[in-house]
Structure formats: C-alpha cells, structure tokens
C-alpha cells in the first residue's frame, strides 16, 4: 500500500510559513514575505498534484472503487473513550479534488498579490494571513472527523475575518469583517449543536464511521424524535445551518457581499473559490447520512435553489462589480447545493453529487479568474463601480480576453468549463424535480445576462474620461489570469464521473441534448439581451428599472435583508436585551446587595445610641430592666 503520510505536509507547510512570516517577516523586506509565502505554497501545490496523480491514476482504486485512505492520524484531545478529536488526513476523491482546488487558487492568489498589493503597508501581514487561511482550509478539506472539520472551520472563519478587515483603518471594512464573523458564528452554533447531537446519538466523530452504511448514523439510526422529525434529521439540518452560513445561503448570506471590502485576491480565494464552498463540501462529506434523512436533503435542495435565484436577481441590479460577482458566487453555490439536494446514491442516481463537485471544481477556476480580472480592472481605474468604467478593452487586452473566457464559462457556453458542469446539474434536477429544474433553468439565463451586462459595461459601452490612461496589470498579475483562463477553458473536459462520484465507483455519462440545447439557448438569449442593453449606452436599462420600479428597488436594496439584520442586532439584542440586563444587574442584583449593607448601616446607626457612655442612661436602663424582669417573674411565672 502506498504511504500517504507525507500529505500532512501539504497542510503544515502553509502553517509554518505563517509562523515564519508572522514572527520574522518584519526583519526582512516585504517582498521576501511574498516570495516565501508563494514558494511554500508552490511546494504544497506540487505535493497536491502528485497526490492527485497517485491517488486517481495509480493506487487509489481497488476493483473500480476509489478507497478512503487515512493518510495520517493522531490523537489530539480525548473526551471519552469513543469521543475524541483526531488530527489527520483523509484521502478520498473529494478531499483530493479540494486539495487541488485550494492549492491552485491559493497559489494564483499568492502570485497575483505580489503585484496587486505592491507597496501596500501591510504586505507581510497579508501574506501571513493568506498562509494562515490556506493552512486552515487545507486542514478543513482533509479532516478525518467532524470535530477536526469544525476546528478548521472556525479557523477559516477567523482568517476570513482578518483578511476582510485587512484595511483596518476603513470603517466599512471593519464593520464588514465583524458582520462576517458574527453571522457565520451564529451559523456555526447550529453546526456545533448538530455535532453535539451526533456525538450523543452515534457516539463517534469519525467520518468513516458516520458515513458507513452499517454505522451508527445510517445502519442503526437512533429512534428518538423531536417535533415529529427524527433526531438525525434535526442534527443534519443543524449541521447544514453551519454550511449555509459559510456558503452564504439565504438567509445567512448577508455577510458575503460586504466581505468584498477585503483586498480582491482575498475575495477571489476565500469568498469565491474555497471557503464559501466549504458548506457544499460539508454536505458532500456527510452525503450518505443526508441520503438517509430525506427531509434534510430536501431542505438543502430548496435552500440552494432559492438562494441561486434570489442572488441572481440581485446581481442584475448591482453596480459595484465585486458585489455583482459576490451575488453571482452565492448563486452558483446555490446551484451546487441544489445539485446535492437532488442527488441520489450510486451510479446515475448520484449524478447530482458528481455534478455538484464538478461545478465546484470548474467554478473555482472561472470565479477566481473573474475576481482577479476585477482586481486588475480596479487596479487600472481605481473604482469599483461599473458606471466609472467603459471601453476598457483597448487598454486591458489580456484582462479583456481572460474576463471574456470566464464569462463564457460561467454563462455555460460550450466548450467552456461551466457548460459541462452546469449541464450535469440541470440534468440531475430535470430527472428529480421539475420545479427545481425550472428555477435553475431561469437562473442559467439570468447568469448569462448579468455576467455579460458586466462584460459589455466594462469593456465596451461608453468610453470614460480617465484621469490617466488605464494600463494593463504587471506580469505577476496577468500570469495567474492566463493560467486560470486555461482552467476555465479546459477543466470541463475532465471526466469527473470517472473520478468523483457519490459511491466512489465509476459511471458513464452522456450529454442529454434535451437539456443541453435549451440551456445553451437561454444562455445565448441572456447574452443577447445584455448585448442589446449594454453594448452601447442605451436608455433601456433605465426604462426597465422604471417599469419594474417596486421590484427593482427591492432587488437593488438586496430585498432589505441587511436592514433586518441591523434591526435584530442593534434594536433587539443591543437595546432590548443587553441594555436591560446591564440595568438589572446594576440596580436589582447589585441594588439588593447595597440594600443589605444599607439596612445593616441603618440598624447599627439606631443601635449605637445604646452605648452612649452616659452613666445615667445606663442606670435607667438597668433599673427599668430589673423592674421589668421582676414583674415578669412575679406575675407571669407560674
């Protein structure tokens, strides 16, 4: 058997790089941090590729089924004899795929940032945090047990917090980072409670035991129920809540658009390609259990589908290009969730699972590319807003071409990567539930529309008077663009059904033209509409916005979910819970303590008069006491 124990270094190298840059980075020139960070990650990347090659093409398969291999495992903390947290590396198709995704995109972000953040004050800090994030994300994807995943889940959360708040002098960045952390923390509470439920009813954290068909979660599920649903259903719904928080699913999505306050490479890495798909990965990891609790799986499908539609509608109205991309990310992740929700287990039944992972993979390439292009554009025109841009194709030729490739990929035009993965999702939905299929079909059209609205608006459209001529980004930035563009073009040809499937066995897929042709048609319609409206400045967008005024305003304001969030945090928690508690503590609890001391004081004040030192007073008291006692003894003593 091939020894995979070296894979632990894929995870650990970024951690040591983090320590190195964090402690020693300031002793050297900033650029050293960039080089050390990129070099460390390059090593991890090479190791990941080697692992993928070894696993998929050499030793991973036995009798046509990919094995789940524990590459490395060590006890970290013991709770009871059966419940313990291990730190380890689980090698199986999805974790190996995620290793590739995370290291590739992270490497691109590392290289890109050497150009993008050149001369920035916190350059070293940025690379330290980027390494910390990469370490956490890698630890998350290779987790052998659900608690290890939770640990790294929290760590990616905090890296995301630190990186969103990278420009910490900017109030909006600080607010956005805080919001991201608290919203996901709230979702993680659900995750934690789900883990506690699982631990109580199944007695294990281990993924292999949990997902085993004969294991305590699936084979002999607990009989307990709560409010008409089995506890396993509750546990899986709560765990999904954690996933929904990280993956920005409705209604826990509100932090994602604000998270765009972070530097653009961070948006590309964390908030497009890796961390936000952690929720999808979580559901995929526990997929065998979800299959056994259909209600929870149904919820996953509908939350995913609704989020994808909801976000796509908002994306059509936004002007900040990074926010458009953020909503687009949310929408695409909704696709992946929905695909998992409509999937079954094994062979063609499991098409949705395969499609979801496939889309996760291709999406990582084209969405990271889109963000990095957006970074190059912002770098050139110093604005995030679409109406400050236009006619840039002349100035930014490489960015233009790569952005176009990414747009074609996400819109689902063959033979770009997005077409294949999205098509599989639509096929899976088509065979499972017509309503979900219709929603996702509409979203496909909307996606093509809003992406090309962006494309035409930025690169064509009205030419702006720029302060200084926009110029193409340096090589360190364009190289990653070109690399990712190749991914966006060719990743679709990877035969995923031979690599990553629900039961880890292979199956054959055929293009179903009955779904594929309409999906291409709607994508072309979407592009066409965008072409008419945005190729040249027209009055059409305004007219449409006007005719849909109520709906448009609502969508433009993101359906007021943010206001709801503010209302809950500020009005309810801060003013109506915390403030009364503070008052109660000062005045009632502490007041009663002060009251006791007050009463004691008063009482002693009254009593102290007895000890006046005046002999006459003592004599009177003495004599009256004697008389009183005498009377008592004489008359009452019988």
């Amino acid at each position: 058997m091939f020894d995979f124990s070296y894979t632990v270094w894929i995870v650990l190298i970024p951690f040591f790089v983090f320590l190195l840059i964090g402690f020693l980075g300031h002793k050297f020139k900033p650029v050293v941090s960039g080089i050390v960070g990129s070099a460390g990650l390059f090593t991890s990347w090479i190791l990941s590729i080697f692992t993928a090659y070894k696993y998929f093409f050499d030793v991973g398969k036995i009798d046509g089924v990919y094995q789940q291999i524990i590459g490395y495992n060590t006890l970290w903390l013991r709770f009871t004899d059966t419940l313990h947290i291990d730190m380890g590396v689980l090698i199986d198709p999805i974790s190996v795929m995620m290793l590739i995704v995370v290291t590739t995109v992270s490497l691109m972000a590392h290289i890109y940032s050497t150009g993008y953040l050149k001369g920035e004050k916190g350059f070293m800090r940025f690379y330290a945090f980027l390494s910390l994030f990469t370490f956490s994300m890698l630890g998350l994807v290779v987790a052998t047990n659900i608690f290890q995943m939770y640990i790294f889940w929290e760590l990616v959360g905090v890296s995301s917090y630190l990186l969103i708040g990278f420009y910490y002098e900017k109030p909006s960045a600080v607010a956005a980072s805080k919001k991201a952390f608290i919203v996901t923390r709230f979702a993680d509470l659900g995750f934690l409670i789900g883990i506690l439920l699982l631990s109580y009813y199944t007695g294990t954290f281990n993924f292999l035991e949990l997902t085993s068909p004969t294991g305590p979660a699936i084979g002999t599920p607990p009989a307990a129920t709560f409010m008409g649903m089995s506890v396993m259903t509750w546990a899986m719904i709560l765990i999904f809540m954690g996933g929904a928080g990280k993956s920005a699913m409705f209604p826990l999505h509100i932090w994602l658009p604000d998270a765009m306050e972070g530097p653009t490479p961070v948006s590309a890495l964390i908030h497009a390609a890796t961390m936000v798909v952690a929720g999808v990965f979580l559901v995929a990891r526990l997929f065998p259990i979800y299959i056994s609790v259909p209600i929870a799986l149904q919820l996953v499908a509908w939350v995913g589908a609704f989020s994808s539609l909801f976000a796509a509608v908002i994306a059509c109205t936004q002007h900040d290009i990074k926010r458009v991309l953020a909503y687009s990310t949310m929408s695409q992740i909704g696709y992946m969730m929905c695909a998992l929700g409509v999937s079954g287990m094994g062979g063609h039944e499991g098409l949705g699972y395969m499609a979801s992972m496939f889309h996760l993979f291709t999406h990582a390439f084209f969405k990271a590319l889109l963000f990095l292009c957006a970074g190059a554009i912002i770098h050139a025109v110093h604005s995030n807003y679409m109406y400050d841009m236009g006619g840039l194709k002349k100035y930014l030729p490489i960015t233009h071409i790569t952005f176009l490739i990414a747009c074609l990929a996400i819109a689902g035009i063959p033979p770009f990567a997005g077409f294949f993965s999205k098509d599989e999702i639509l096929v899976a939905a088509y065979h499972h539930d017509t309503a979900l299929f219709v929603i996702e079909y509409i979203v496909a059209g909307l996606t093509a529309f809003y992406m090309f609205r962006l494309y035409f608006g930025i690169f064509w459209g009205k030419k702006q008077d720029y302060h200084h001529t926009p110029h193409e980004a340096p090589l360190s930035m364009t190289l990653p663009l070109i690399f990712l563009a190749f991914g966006a073009m060719f990743a679709g040809f990877i035969p995923f059904s031979h690599l990553v499937t629900s039961d880890r066995a292979l199956f054959e897929i055929h293009t179903e033209w009955i779904v594929a042709i309409p999906s291409i048609v709607i994508a072309i319609i979407g592009i066409g509409v965008a072409y008419v409206m945005y190729l040249k400045p027209t009055e059409i967008p305004k007219k449409i916005a006007h005719s849909l005024s109520g709906f448009y305003t609502a969508a433009y304001n993101k359906f007021y979910i943010d206001q709801l969030y503010l209302f809950i945090t500020h009005k309810i928690i801060f003013n109506n819970i915390s403030r009364p508690i503070a008052w109660f503590d000062r005045h009632i609890v502490d007041g009663s303590m002060n009251g006791i001391s007050f009463v004691t004081n008063q009482a002693s004040d009254k009593i102290k008069g007895f000890q006046s030192g005046q002999l006459q007073q003592y004599a009177i008291v003495f004599v009256s006491g004697v008389i009183l006692l005498s009377l008592v003894f004489i008359y009452l003593w019988t």
């Binding site: 608690f147 002098e169 109030p171 608290i182 923390r185 709230f186």
Partner: protein
C-alpha cells in the same frame, strides 16, 4: 524535604528580601527574581509529577506531607497534589509572574504593594496544595485579606467602596464556608472515633444525608461567591474596575479559581449525594450566569466592566461543568479555570497598559490604536480570539470539553441547559469583536494618541508569557487533559457511587 514546601517558602523569602531592599528598582528586581524561581519551581513540579505518573506511581496524592498541628482538635498541616492541583499551581505561578512584570512601573509605595501581592499569591499556592480543610481555610483567608488593602490603597475610582464591597461579600462567603467546614468536621466520624479535617479521610466516610443537604448549599454558595456565582457576582465588576492592574490579574486569574476549586474539591467531592440532590438549582443559576454575563458585557463601555462580565460568564461555565458530574465535563471545568485564568490575566494586563497610555478605559473614546501600538493591539486581538473560543487557543479546548461532556448526560434537562450555555459563544463573539473594532481599528480619533509608544520589554514579557500559555494549551491540549482527567479519578468514582 517535600518540594511543595518551596511553593510557600519562596514567596516568604521573597517578601523578606523585599524588606531589605533600598529603592524601587531593587524591590522590583527582588520580586521578579522570586517569582521567576516560583515559575521554574512550578514547571519542575509539573514535570516531576508527570514523570512519577509515567513511572507508574498511581497514588491518589503525590508529594504528600502530613504533620499534626493542633492535636486536641485533630488539625493537621496536610499538603499534597494530584493532577488538578498541579495544574492550578502552574496557572498561579504564570499569572503572578506576569503580574509582577505588568506592575513594573508601579511607583506608589511599591514595597508594600509587592509584599501584599506576593503574600496573596502565597495564600493561593497554599490553598491549592492543602488537603486539610482547616489549613485550606487558613490559606484561603490569607489570599482574600490582602485584596482589601491592595484595592483600597492602590485602587482607582471609588476604590474604598469597591474594596469594602468586595471584601464584605467575600467575607460573607467565607462565613458560609466556615459553617460548612465545621459541618463537615462534626460529621466526619459518623461511626464514632476522632473527628477530622482531612479531606481524604472525610471522602471515605458516608456523611448523613440530612447533613449533606444542609451543608452542600452553604459550601457551594460560599465558594461560589468567589467563583462569581449568579446572583452573588456583583462584587466582581466594581472590584475589578477599581483594582490596580496586577491585582485585577491575580484576582480574576487566580482568586476566582479558588471558588471553583473549592466547589469541586470540597463541596462536590465531600458531599456528593447532597450535590446530586440539589445540583439542579445551581445548574440553572450557572446557566443563567453564562448567558447573562455574556449579554451583559455587550452593552458595557468600560473595558474592565466588559472583562468582568465576560469573567462572570466564563466562570459560571466552570461551576456549570462541575455540576455535570461526569469526567469529561469536569475535566473541561478545570481546563476552563486554567484557560480563563491566563486569558483574563492577559486582558487585565493589556487593559492596564492601554489605560496607562490613553488614560481612559471607555471603548467609545478610543479608536485606531492598532496603528500606534501594534504589539499591544495584536495581543489584545489574540486574547479576544481566545476568549471567544477560537481553536488553537485554550478557551476552545476547555469549552468544547465542557459542552461535549455535558451533552453526554442521559438526562434531557442537562442537555437542554447545555445548549443554552453553548449559545453564549455567539454573544461572546459580539462583545469581543465590538471592542476590537471600536478600540483598535479605524482611524485615530485623538491627536494625543499619535504619540503613544508600543509595549516596553517588561510589558512584552508579561503579555508574551500569558499568550504562550494559552496557545501552548490550545495547540497541544492532550497532556493537560490527561493529567486532569487522571486527577479527577477519585471524585468521579465517589460521584458514581453516590448515584447508585
């Protein structure tokens, strides 16, 4: 000679040494040297303890020494350690070490200040190694009394009020404890024979149920007052707010742990049946404390109040976990004491250093400090992240051990309150990030702050030690958890017996 004696002798020698010093500088140096030795000694004790255990020494108590002190009443001077007390010794020496360096620039009567501080720590060390209730109570009082002077003389704000309030409330608790201890003493030989204060001997006898029901609440509330048991916690915010930096550190970091330790070592260990019968009342109170403290902290503006309420929440979790009566949760309780002790000492140290620079403790009056004092700001963020239970720091390990342990309880009531207590992790995140966001991030709002300098060497040493403590436990918790779990053996055994 028993190595544990050194834990008392070193502080006493240090105090004597301080008496012979000339100027402020010598006072500081002598204190620092003494407490450095104390820290090294604690490390040696822990390592020796682990080595003995590895060598297969399974005695309940290691390094035991037992001397008759007052024969008529059968009072002994009995000391010794198990896995739990060894861990607490480690905590105390780290906090006092950091505390000395945090008060390096104290120039108001430094000789008296350091003497009181070290005397206090000697009381704490004595308390943790005592196995005789009388000795224990004596050391307890030695630890609590200097607090009055420390706050009353070196404090700030309404310091007389705070010192008085704190001391009176703790004395009220002591009164309950004293009655409880006497109750134990007079019930320590139900079958006749000599009465005893010896904890181990009392743990072997069956105390009558009616006595347990009467004395358990006295002891639990008595120690609970010091452990910030809701609703007897209000001395904490005022006391901490008025206390000077090192005193806050020691008080929240170590003294409050005396409460939790006493509840565990005396109340629960010696009166298990009574504890079983009455636990539900205190479980409710502590669960309220966990949430109440966290929510109460959100609204506060004064950094010390925020941290005091945060301590109420974290310490309530300690008592909560002790009352879960299972090995995992109780291990978590002890870990939480250590974790919170180091973490809160870090916070109070940083608050003192920040106050020394900005002359305000109100969060809303500060902004953008990250830029001018990066070291202290990063340390504060690290402390904050540890406090909100981020993996990689000790708080996570302790909290998760508590939650997982408590949730394994077969009884639905316990599991429901566990979920309620667990929800505090969200509220904690809110108040921590609020402070970090307002105080450290953003733009500098006061031109005077531009002139602020970053941490000096002694401040770096003080905070660095504490940060090292929380990360070391957070990254490699297994040894500590194993050591504590092994130390809990007798308690768990007795609790299990009492359930049948």
């Amino acid at each position: 000679m028993n190595i544990l004696f050194l834990l008392i002798i070193i502080p006493v020698l240090t105090i004597i040494g301080i008496l012979f010093t000339g100027d402020n500088k010598q006072v500081r140096v002598v204190s620092a040297i003494g407490m450095t030795f104390q820290l090294i000694l604690s490390a040696i004790i822990i390592l020796w303890f682990l080595a003995e255990r590895n060598a297969g020494n399974t005695a309940e108590i290691l390094f035991a020494s037992n001397y008759v002190w007052y024969e008529t009443l059968n009072i002994h001077f009995f000391i010794g350690v198990d896995g739990v007390s060894v861990a607490m010794i480690g905590l105390t020496s780290i906090v006092i070490f950091a505390g000395i360096f945090a008060s390096w620039d104290m120039d108001d009567l430094p000789r008296e200040f350091f003497i009181s501080l070290i005397l206090l720590s000697a009381g704490v060390f004595g308390f943790f190694i005592s196995l005789d209730l009388f000795t224990m109570f004596l050391f307890y009082e030695i630890a609590v009394i200097p607090m009055y002077l420390l706050i009353g003389i070196w404090g700030s704000g309404p310091r007389h009020y705070s010192a008085m309030k704190l001391t009176l409330m703790l004395m009220g608790g002591s009164a309950l404890i004293l009655v409880g201890l006497l109750g134990l003493y007079f019930n320590s030989a139900p079958d006749g024979g000599p009465l005893t204060f010896d904890i181990l001997e009392i743990s072997r006898v069956q105390i009558p149920m009616n006595a347990q029901l009467f004395f358990f609440p006295l002891l639990f509330v008595g120690f609970g007052v010091l452990g910030a048991l809701f609703p007897f916690h209000t001395w904490s915010p005022d006391g901490h707010a008025s206390a000077p930096t090192a005193v806050s550190m020691l008080h929240a970091g170590v003294l409050m742990k005396l409460g939790g330790y006493g509840c565990y070592r005396v109340a629960v260990f010696l009166l298990p049946e009574g504890a079983h019968e009455l636990a539900w009342i205190f479980i409710i109170l502590t669960a309220i404390g966990v949430i109440y403290g966290a929510l109460g902290a959100i609204w506060q503006k004064d950094l010390k109040y925020i941290n005091a309420y945060s301590s109420v929440s974290h310490c309530a979790l300690v008592l909560f976990a002790i009352l879960m009566f299972n090995e995992t949760a109780m291990t978590g309780a002890i870990m939480q004491m250590i974790s919170h002790g180091i973490m809160t000492a870090l916070f109070f140290a940083l608050i003192g250093m920040i106050y020394g620079r900005t002359h305000t403790r109100y969060v809303n009056e500060m902004s953008g400090l990250m830029k001018v004092m990066p070291f202290l700001a990063v340390a504060y963020v690290v402390g904050g992240l540890a406090s909100l239970g981020l993996p990689g720091f000790s708080g996570f390990v302790a909290e998760m051990t508590i939650f997982v342990g408590a949730f394994q309880h077969p009884d639905i009531f316990h599991r429901v309150v566990t979920l309620i207590a667990a929800s505090s992790i969200v509220a904690t995140a809110v108040y921590i990030l609020r402070v970090v966001g307002m105080m450290l991030f953003g733009k500098i709002n006061n031109p005077d702050y531009e002139l602020i300098t970053d941490a000096k060497w002694y401040e770096r040493l003080s905070t660095g030690t504490l940060i090292f403590g929380i990360t070391a436990i957070g990254i490699a918790p297994l040894w500590l958890s194993n050591m504590i779990t092994a130390g809990l053996g007798p308690v768990i055994h007795k609790l299990l017996l009492s359930m049948n």
